[in-house]
Amino acid sequence: METLTTFLNSFLPEGLSAFIVIMLKIVAILLPLILAVAYTTFAERKVIGYMQSRMGPNRVGPKGWLQPIADTVKLMFKEIITPTKASKIVFFIAPMLALAPALAVWSVIPFWDGGVLANVNAGLLLILAVNSLDVFGIILAGWASNSKYAILSSLRVGAQVVSYEIAMGFALVGVLMVSGSLNLTEIVQAQGGGLFGWNVFPLCGLFVVFFISGVAETNRAPFDVAEGESEIVAGFHVEYSGMAFALFFLAEYASMILISTLTALLFFGGWLSPFGHLVADIPVLSFILGDGFHWLLLKTMFFLFCYLWFRATFPRYRYDQIMRLGWKILIPVTLVWIFGIGIAIAYGWQPWL
């Protein structure tokens, strides 16, 4: 990266070359992300297929591997229809508003030690804030569609997301108390020292709360009241077609990957290896078993798999029970847990350090 910067500096003004380097970094993050989104949809259909004793898609390309590309091409060439009396501007802004925050959050996610676009010191708060903007896309899509089903869905989602954001925020408070920082790189570094340094052990309750509210925030099964087919047709995106419809899905899967990555970073040591320093001296093994991006990838993929697993396993929650779970169970659990951590820190009992 430094060589590229110096090369660009040799014939361009400094501001412009910095701009180009940042743009290249953004592309380097977003391209694999969008590819990952495409193949997450494929993985979802395959995994759920096998869980239900079916094959899943297997017609396009070898073993169905070109299915997501075929889907993308199909969606791109479909006509985009706007409903009559729909609020045109908001109707088209809504999918962008859903997608933009889901992609913007990735700017502060560290992939390995130092492998981050913007190493801001309030990274965790920034993620929480930008993630909370996601809901506008859905709410506005429902309103602008001028459809009763769509607005019912968006009202449900709005209330659900706002409720679960509180539980999620409290779970993150526990993380920052233990690691003493809001910077994601520092949070991961605080979990060093192998498997038992990971935050998931002192914070196992908060981890469960975080992941459950993460599933609820992304409107995935079993919290997918946004698209209850039986009662409100398809939900907030009933009136959308073609690429506008695809953007909502892109956003949903991008935030799924984000929540999985965050879980890995905050509770499971991110790119740190579970073996810690045990394997640091062994010549070949240290490369594979030592710290590195592949561990983050592996952990993220596990949590993504959990998402698909949940979808194939659990029936959809009833709406009032979703609210009960969020307000009466998850939030009290986090409050008690934070109080416990507070006492532990105040009296210096820190078995995890």
Binding site: G15, S87, V90, V120, N121, A122, L125, L126, L128, A129, V130, S132, L133, V135, F136, I139, L140, W143, I151, S154, L155, G158, A159, V161, V162, E165, L182, D320, Q321, R324
Partner: protein
């Protein structure tokens, strides 16, 4: 013009024009959207001032939570735009009085000794913004902070108790009871011997079938 100044002016222009949009937009949903944009760009201005904690919290609290509920309410209201425009002339004098008062107050405040002075040079923080705020909030301003928290809790309880209504004769679901239900509460397994067919019933059946055919 430096890059920083350019960004500042960009955000300032967007903030001001969206603030104008809030009061001029006819559709209340558009007004709320302009308000969101205004919040967001002023958060960006705060980040430019190196107050990144405040900026992020502004987005988190106002844009992410308060405005969602705002939009919620506005979307559910049945608003007729022509009735909104009624009474412009009637309320104009009162509106003008309020506007003049607010402008006058702002001028007095800005001209007071607290604000009307040379801009101090920013002192670079030794630790990061969030840490510095936390330290001062939990030491120097401990009591005001706690009192604010208590007031907020009282407000929450008041809001809940205002909206909480128990009506007689309404069928309600008791969720915690429903969740705690066990299989044994709902399901009774009955042992039954296999059915013994008597001769007579068999005959009846045969008769019925032949009857159907004819």
């Amino acid at each position: 013009m430096t890059l920083e100044l350019f960004i500042f002016y960009l955000f300032a222009v967007i903030t001001l024009s969206s603030a104008v949009g809030v009061v001029t937009a006819r559709n209340p949903v558009y007004a709320a959207l302009f308000l969101i944009l205004a919040f967001f760009t002023s958060a960006a201005t705060w980040v430019l001032l190196e107050a990144e904690f405040l900026g992020v919290v502004l987005v988190l609290v106002y844009v992410g939570a308060v405005m969602v509920l705002f939009l919620f309410v506005i979307m559910m209201l049945d608003i007729k735009i022509d009735t909104l425009k009624e009474g412009m002339v009637r309320y104009l004098p009162l509106g003008l009085v309020v506007a003049v008062t607010v402008v006058a107050e702002m001028i007095f405040v800005m001209k007071s000794s607290t604000f009307d002075r040379a801009i101090p040079e920013p002192t670079p923080l030794s630790t990061n913004n969030t840490k510095a705020l936390g330290e001062i909030l939990y030491t120097e301003y401990m009591y005001p902070f706690e009192i604010a928290a208590v007031i907020l809790v009282v407000a929450i309880i008041a809001a809940i108790s205002l909206t909480l209504r128990r009506r007689e004769g309404v069928k309600k679901q008791n969720q915690s009871e429903q969740v705690k239900t066990k299989k044994s509460d709902r399901l009774r397994v009955v042992k039954m011997g296999s059915e013994q067919r008597t001769e007579k019933r068999m005959e009846e059946r045969v008769e019925q079938q032949t009857g159907d055919r004819t």
